[in-house]
């Protein structure tokens, strides 16, 4: 995989991460499942999307912002998964025990 492909994958990943985080936050707000972190998700995702679309309209994207948004989404994904399904419950039939 060349440098171009890695950078392209990184761009796509940060765009996708921004979209997924924003989509999740707005869906939770719509359904009334919001917490204070939901608004942080919405803000981070919105900034990530703005950063991703800037070059298409003559602006310049800041690579660090894309990386932070991608990292935030990645940590948020695994953090939320780990919180709701801790490893200690993986091999139990009933996760509520």
């Amino acid at each position: 995989m060349g440098n171009y492909s890695i950078s392209k994958f990184g761009t796509r990943f940060s765009e996708g991460a921004g979209a997924v985080t924003t989509y999740m936050a707005y869906n939770d707000i719509f359904n009334g499942n919001q917490h204070p972190i939901t608004y942080l998700d919405a803000g981070v995702g919105t900034v990530g999307l703005g950063n991703a679309l800037a070059p298409a309209f003559g602006g310049s994207s800041v690579p660090v912002i894309g990386q932070i948004v991608a990292l935030y989404s990645w940590v948020r994904f695994w953090g939320e998964l780990g919180y709701n399904h801790p490893v200690s419950t993986w091999f139990r039939d009933d996760e509520t025990k």
């Binding site: 765009e15 979209a19 997924v20 985080t21 924003t22 989509y23 999740m24 936050a25 707005y26 869906n27 939770d28 707000i29 719509f30 359904n31 009334g32 919001q34 204070p36 608004y39 919405a42 803000g43 919105t46 999307l49 703005g50 991703a52 679309l53 070059p55 298409a56 309209f57 003559g58 948020r76 994904f77 939320e80 998964l81 709701n84 399904h85």
Partner: protein
């Protein structure tokens, strides 16, 4: 004279289709500012479809606030809430526009005719639309939270 000018500008606003104006400007912008980008069609399709989904979300959330409840799909199949919730949003708000944008803009390369028709645009419709949707959706989310006492 002034009244005639106002009528004329109002008339021309209705003659142009805002949907196509946004698309034409967005396509022209990405071709102008990123001429070497090979996958520009996917990029602009991705960007504008997300903005359209935000647009629909803003309308639906304010309708909900004013008592018009629209039943929407709420997925719950994966262990990750993030996947369920974002896919629910994509199905409810983005999927109609994925279909619509593909059929009206990219199918049979219709975008070539659209760009040709609206080639001399003075206003950056695409940029303003994207900015207003990003800011509008975020402000709507915060305002809705405040008004419904959830913040």
């Amino acid at each position: 004279m002034m009244k005639q000018n106002n009528l004329k500008s109002l008339n021309s606003l209705f003659m142009y289709n805002l949907y196509y104006l946004i698309w034409a400007d967005s396509i022209q912008s990405i071709r102008k500012y990123q001429p070497n980008k090979k996958d520009w069609k996917i990029s602009i399709f991705f960007i504008i479809t997300i903005m359209h989904s935000f647009n629909l979300w803003i309308i639906v959330i304010w309708l909900k606030y004013f008592g018009v409840d629209i039943p929407l799909i709420d997925l719950n199949f994966s262990p990750s809430h993030m996947i369920d919730s974002s896919l629910s949003f994509a199905i409810n708000f983005a999927s109609p526009f994925i279909l619509l944008n593909y059929l009206l803009i990219f199918r049979n390369n219709r975008y070539i005719k659209i760009v040709e028709k609206y080639k001399d645009l003075k206003i950056k419709y695409g940029l303003y639309y994207c900015l207003s949707m990003l800011i509008g959706a975020f402000l709507s989310a915060v305002l809705y939270g405040i008004l419904t006492h959830q913040i």
